[in-house]
């Protein structure tokens, strides 16, 4: 029987903490039979992150490359290191977050192979499914024998692997020359604040153009904070300046899979729906009974959101 060769997962982290997307990549990797899974942590003073990666169930070994150049996740700096360390592996996976989307194609090009973007299901060791056309179509992608498989994993399609691993942590050596043409300036944190992270939250409330203004979003925040849930938005709400960009859900924003998603004043454009179709329960509140979101909602309520939100706060809070 043919066994697949080892897998390397590029960890996403912020220097202090491992992003949950990495645990989701591990679950994806464990579903591809027969492979040994290593996690690569590129960072600076990132031993906490390495320890968190080593604790993930299913991980065999954690490789770290600790150097000052790796303090910020710059694709141009990280890619040559990943490509060099990819030598012993048949699969190189990263999350389909902005981190992975930025980095992994650069790695694939250095390796001279294609990339499978947004890998959502495993058909066989070399065959996978991914969404195209904003999720309107699913395509099966096969990688010929002899080529390395580089992919970004659609995180909403895989549950995070639990803790319980005891992988060894080793320092990896890289010789690749790192470019100095790119430098990190700053990261301006988005709108989440103390609220739960959109991509990991169990419950997400979301507002669209129907919310009407930045000021009106306070109503939704108040309800969300009362119940301890995350808040997202449609592109229209972001474009109109009601909320920051990192709250956008959809084809060009975040793809999420909460247990419960409640959309207030969102019409349900296909580009938005592609971001929520893995949600457990979708609820829509919209004053237009014809809004397309009611075609996909599990529970729909035709009503004015300005009336419903305060009532919900009373009855749930």
């Amino acid at each position: 029987m043919m066994t697949t060769s080892g897998m390397l997962i590029v960890a996403e982290h912020n220097g202090g903490n491992l992003n949950q997307s990495t645990a989701r990549c591990v679950t994806c990797a464990t579903s591809i039979a027969g492979a040994r899974i290593d996690v690569l942590v590129l960072g600076h003073e990132c031993s906490t992150v390495a320890a968190q990666a080593a604790a993930l169930f299913g991980v065999h070994r954690v490789l770290t490359v600790d150097r000052p150049e790796n303090a910020a996740p710059l694709a141009a700096v990280l890619a040559p290191q990943v490509a060099e360390l990819a030598a012993g592996y048949g699969y190189i996976l990263g999350p389909s977050t902005t981190f992975g989307k930025d980095l992994m194609p650069r790695v694939a090009a250095l390796l001279g192979v294609g990339q499978i973007s947004d890998l959502m299901a495993i058909v066989g060791p070399r065959a996978f499914q991914r969404p195209v056309y904003a999720g309107n179509v699913i395509v099966t992608v096969e990688v010929p024998e002899g080529l390395k498989i580089v992919a970004t994993v659609r995180t909403a399609s895989f549950k995070p692997t639990p803790d319980g691993g005891t992988a060894e942590i080793t320092q990896a050596r890289v010789d690749a020359a790192l470019p100095s043409h790119t430098s990190f300036v700053e990261l301006r944190a988005g709108g989440g604040g103390a609220r739960p992270d959109l991509q990991t939250a169990r419950i997400v409330f979301s507002g669209g153009r129907g919310v009407g203004s930045e000021g009106n979003f306070a109503l939704l925040y108040a309800l969300a904070d009362r119940l301890g849930v995350a808040v997202g938005a449609s592109r229209a709400a972001v474009d109109a300046g009601f909320v920051p960009n990192d709250m956008q859900i959809g084809q060009t924003g975040k793809i999420i899979a909460p247990d419960l998603y409640i959309a207030f004043g969102i019409s349900g454009a296909i580009q938005h729906l592609t971001g929520i179709k893995d949600a457990g329960l979708i609820v829509a509140v919209n004053k237009d009974a014809e809004a397309p979101i009611f075609q996909v909602a599990d529970v729909g309520l035709v009503a004015d959101l300005f009336q419903i939100i305060p009532e919900l706060e009373k009855k749930l809070g």
Binding site: L74, A75, A76, A79, T97, T98, D102, M104, P105, R106, A108, A109, G114, Q115, I116, D118, V132, Y133, A134, G135, N136, V137, I138, T140, V141, E142, V143, P144, L147, P179, H181, T182, S183, F184, V185, E186, L187, R188, A189, G190, G191, V238, P244, N245, D246, T252, K277, L281, V283, V285, F294, D298, V299, G300, L301, A303, I308, E311, L312, K315
Partner: protein, 246 residues
């Protein structure tokens, strides 16, 4: 240099062919990939802000891509190049072909959309930057150029990241970089006279071997149709029945 991909218009309802070999494109409205249109708009604004630059629009694909290039010329690009091919072009192959043009044209900046709305791959810009061994700034929502460098604000999951890159470089546009202009009739007339160079893609001599096989297209499983509730009380009990907020 700005890359424009011809894609099925975003308003079209996509249908999978009965034999699963692809999606129906016959008689379907085609447009410039919306993200690429934003990339072109940005290049035009850089020129209009007084930088003495030429804006070259490039497309890879069948003869029909001339339509999208003409639209690009009508928006304001100075000239256009079509790399003609009737076969599917993977992102890596596109990046290799673009690199050839980059070597010939020596642009200060290559702009393109962060992803194409047909294959949603989000790869070509990064791959070109890798092969070219130059900086990349993906998902740009703000771009400032000064002294041979670009300061780019990027839309990332955690908020907005700002990076500084040396030119030449590849920048990929996100939706909020700008709002593309509408083309006016006189511009369409003028665009007809602008140069559009056609070159056979195969003649470039780049490695076009597909690295992936797209074996089957299918529609996703539809979600079960849900039910409507009449008021907040019913909504609350529906949520509680499912185990939420108990």
């Amino acid at each position: 240099m700005v890359c424009l991909k011809r894609v099925v218009d975003y308003n079209v309802r996509i249908r999978v062919k009965d034999d699963g070999s692809g999606v129906v494109t016959d008689g379907v409205k085609m447009s410039i990939n919306p993200f690429d249109e934003i990339a072109l708009e940005e290049a035009l604004r850089i020129r209009e802000a007084g930088q003495p630059v030429e804006v070259i629009a490039v497309s890879i694909g069948p003869d029909d891509c001339q339509q999208q290039l003409r639209t690009g010329l009508a928006m304001g690009a100075d000239r256009a190049i079509l790399l003609e091919t009737d076969t599917e072009v993977e992102p890596l192959a596109a990046a290799r072909a673009l690199l050839k043009l980059v070597e010939r044209e020596q642009p200060d900046l290559v702009l393109m959309g962060k992803q194409a709305i047909d294959d949603d791959n989000n790869q070509t810009g990064q791959m070109l930057a890798a092969l070219w061994n130059r900086p990349q700034a993906t998902f740009a929502s703000r771009l400032e150029i000064a002294d041979g460098r670009a300061t780019v604000t990027r839309e990332v999951d955690d908020g907005l990241e700002v990076i500084s890159i040396e030119l030449p470089a590849v920048v990929t546009a996100d939706l909020r970089l700008n709002e593309p202009r509408y083309v006016k009739l006189p511009d369409i007339m003028k665009a007809k006279k602008k140069p559009l160079e056609r070159q056979n893609l195969a003649a470039l001599g780049t490695d076009m071997t597909p690295r992936l096989r797209l074996s089957k297209y299918e529609a996703p499983l539809p979600r079960q149709k849900g039910r409507m509730v009449a008021n907040v009380d019913e909504l609350v009990s529906a949520l509680r029945d499912k185990g939420f907020f108990n």
